[in-house]
């Protein structure tokens, strides 16, 4: 019975999350504007599922991830992890949650200390809770983790620069797995890798999810990768979610004009499909975060835009089961 309850309740629920960065100028650091990196987004992730967050650079997807792991303290909004709001907890209160929510970075080279060996990188994470452990215990855990991510435990003496890109990303994953987390925020984990290696890492992510019943928040700009790995997907534009739905729905029937354009811009490596596809090329560029256009943030680039779109910001509303869109014309 207990199990059923846990399954129904989302593991992570984000409500109206906002993250503003102040812009200051002058001697007295007077604030004159806000960069509204994340401007009121809500979504939830069930245990064992993957939520994909896609959007172009600067749309706020990484900032959202950073708020959830509490690198940033959100301006307003709630982040419920297993029913407990962690958005406003202090550092000390956060400690028990830190081990449960882990982060994997985009650049495996930049996120590993170049002077630390593989073993000491993992050891640091193992001993971070300051519980007494024997050397043998640490060694065993290290070997176990290395085998989990399909690395040779004999690589313990290597430095990050002696490893290939794929191996480094595996090491990053091993480090995130050290304290058996429930939720992993993956921030562009495969975008720096070559195609053939990328597929290996994606498969590893799926395999680990099955094995440890992990929940992922998967942030990426590659729509094909996100579709492959996610159950539900949120499309972001200028700090707002414009469409949230299941992966297959999103790709078969995109509703928001931005989603449509985004999907059509991705070339598909299949000759006959590609010959037939229609491409929507968006005009113009993403507006700046400081001067967000009034009304729908997408209206200057949208070809269906009407007078309403220029004045009123569309709210994210449910259009059917498990599907919400922020557009006046849907």
């Amino acid at each position: 019975m207990d199990n059923v309850n846990i399954k129904e309740k989302p593991l992570l629920e984000v409500q109206n999350l906002k993250m503003f960065f102040p812009l200051i100028k002058g001697l007295f650091a007077k604030k004159y504007a806000d960069i509204k990196a994340v401007n009121g987004i809500s979504f939830s992730i069930k245990k064992g599922e993957t939520f994909g967050l896609v959007g172009e650079s600067g749309c706020g997807k990484t900032t959202t991830g950073m708020c959830i792991v509490r690198v940033y303290k959100p301006t307003t909004g709630n982040i419920f992890y297993q029913g407990k709001d962690i958005a406003n907890l202090s550092e000390e209160e956060l400690r028990p949650y830190r081990r449960n929510i882990q982060l994997i970075f985009q650049d495996p080279y930049g996120s590993l200390d170049p002077r630390q060996t593989v073993f000491s990188i993992i050891k640091e994470a193992i001993t971070a809770d300051r519980r007494p452990r024997t050397k043998v215990e640490i060694k065993e855990r290290f070997e176990e983790l290395m085998t989990t991510v399909e690395l040779d435990p004999k690589m313990g003496d290597r430095l990050p620069h002696e490893m290939s890109g794929g191996q480094r990303q595996r090491l990053g994953i091993a480090r995130a797995l050290v304290c058996s987390p429930n939720l992993i925020v993956c921030d562009e984990p495969v975008s720096a890798l070559d195609v053939s290696i990328q597929a290996q890492i994606i498969n590893l992510f799926e395999q680990l999810q099955e094995e440890f019943s992990l929940t992922y928040l998967f942030i990426a700009h590659d729509l094909a990768v996100v579709r492959h790995i996610s159950n539900n997907i949120g499309v972001m534009y200028l700090g707002k979610l414009v469409e949230v739905t299941s992966a297959n729905e999103l790709y078969s029937h995109p509703l928001h004009p931005y989603t449509k354009a985004l999907l059509s811009a991705v070339p598909i490596p299949d000759y006959y499909t590609e010959q037939k596809r229609l491409q929507i090329v968006l005009e113009g560029e993403v507006p700046s975060h400081i001067n967000v256009p009034p009304g729908c943030p997408f209206h200057p680039r949208c070809r269906y835009a009407t007078a309403v779109c220029k004045k009123i910001m569309p709210e994210l509303k449910n259009v059917s089961d498990n599907r919400s869109v922020a557009c006046h014309n849907v």
Partner: protein, 342 residues
């Protein structure tokens, strides 16, 4: 008859690269970054060079432009024939090469921020190219610069000419790079990972722009990329590179619908597809690309190949041989058609 056809083919040739070899001599040994590759591009053609990082695709293009830093790099053999003239007869710093580089062949790099000079305005950099290669005065060059910028879809051109690179967005900078490359009406544009640093929607914008400009001016385009999807949409022919060698070549249709090299097959299988339901597991190529120092004289893909055969271990590196249609060539000992069919 065959003679006439051959001659016609030759007159359509713009660039013919034959057995090009470029190595870097490091403390650890000789890195054969480009090892005996041959390819050609006809006038007004759009072709693509595909491969993963470190396969030598960029080095091969830098060799064509003679921009390899020496030492440690050196072009050790081959011919680069542009319009019937072998470019390797001239030294990289000679006047002749300078006249060709930027005027006859121009190159667009991946990172526009590092290839544009941060302390000069867009206008001065753009008109410098025109001044040097077209031998016109400052005013004339500035005027032509404005026209070129307009042709790549930049609005408010007078103001943009006075902007510095950091004042522009990524897509805008890439447009400026396109403008500098088309300003002198060169015969060939080499676009090296042009859109890798851009978002998908901007990528579509920039690629469409480049294609339309190229079509209008009748320039040939060589796209260097790792993105097979991009190639599918835009290229007429494809060369696939692996570990410094071309391992498969053919028309886009041939390569994508009927790949013959195990690497190309693996590459296509390992890409997550937008139009396929997610249930299918990806089929990655096992292992990592080889280190280019001291490669054994065998097939370089052998350690990762799922079809590897005893004869692959014994024989030297397979030559490119044509299969089926005359255009489709593959460097593999095995005939995968027979394996695939049974």
């Amino acid at each position: 008859m065959i003679e006439i056809e051959k001659k016609a083919a030759e007159s359509a040739r713009l660039l013919d690269v034959k057995h090009l070899r470029t190595s870097f001599f490091t403390n650890d040994g000789e890195v054969k970054a480009v090892d005996d590759i041959s390819y050609y591009i006809n006038k007004q053609e759009v072709i693509a060079l595909v491969g993963e990082s470190g396969c030598g695709k960029s080095v091969s293009q830098l060799s064509v432009m003679q921009l390899i830093q020496e030492p440690p790099g050196k072009i050790i053999g081959g011919e680069i024939i542009l319009n019937g003239q072998n470019l390797l007869e001239y030294s990289p710093k000679s006047k002749e090469i300078r006249k060709i580089r930027g005027a006859k062949i121009s190159m667009i790099f991946q990172e526009p921020m590092t290839s544009l000079n941060p302390v000069y305005t867009i206008g001065s950099q753009l008109s410098e190219v025109i001044r040097v290669h077209m031998r016109v005065g400052k005013k004339e060059a500035w005027g032509r610069g404005i026209k070129t910028l307009e042709s790549v879809g930049i609005s408010d051109v007078d103001k943009r000419m006075k902007n510095f690179p950091f004042e522009l967005s990524g897509g805008m900078r890439q447009r400026v790079m396109i403008a500098t490359s088309v300003a002198c009406h060169s015969d060939l544009i080499i676009a090296d990972e042009l859109t890798t640093a851009l978002d998908v929607t901007t990528q579509a914008q920039v690629m469409d722009l480049l294609l339309s400009v190229v079509k209008e001016l009748g320039t040939a385009l060589l796209v260097v990329t790792h993105n097979l999807g991009l190639v599918t949409r835009y290229a007429e022919r494809i060369y696939v590179m692996y570990a410094g060698k071309i391992i498969e070549s053919g028309t886009t249709e041939d390569i994508l619908t009927c790949p013959m090299h195990p690497y190309t097959i693996g590459l296509l299988k390992s890409i997550p597809r937008l139009d396929v339901e997610q249930a299918k597991k990806l089929d990655p190529i096992a292992g990592d690309p080889p280190n280019l120092i001291d490669l054994p004289p065998r097939c370089t893909f052998l350690p990762r190949c799922q079809y590897a055969h005893e004869e692959c271990r014994l024989k030297p590196f397979p030559d490119l041989r044509c299969v089926g249609q005359s255009q489709h060539c593959v460097a593999c000992h095995l005939d995968l058609r027979s394996i695939k069919n049974g």
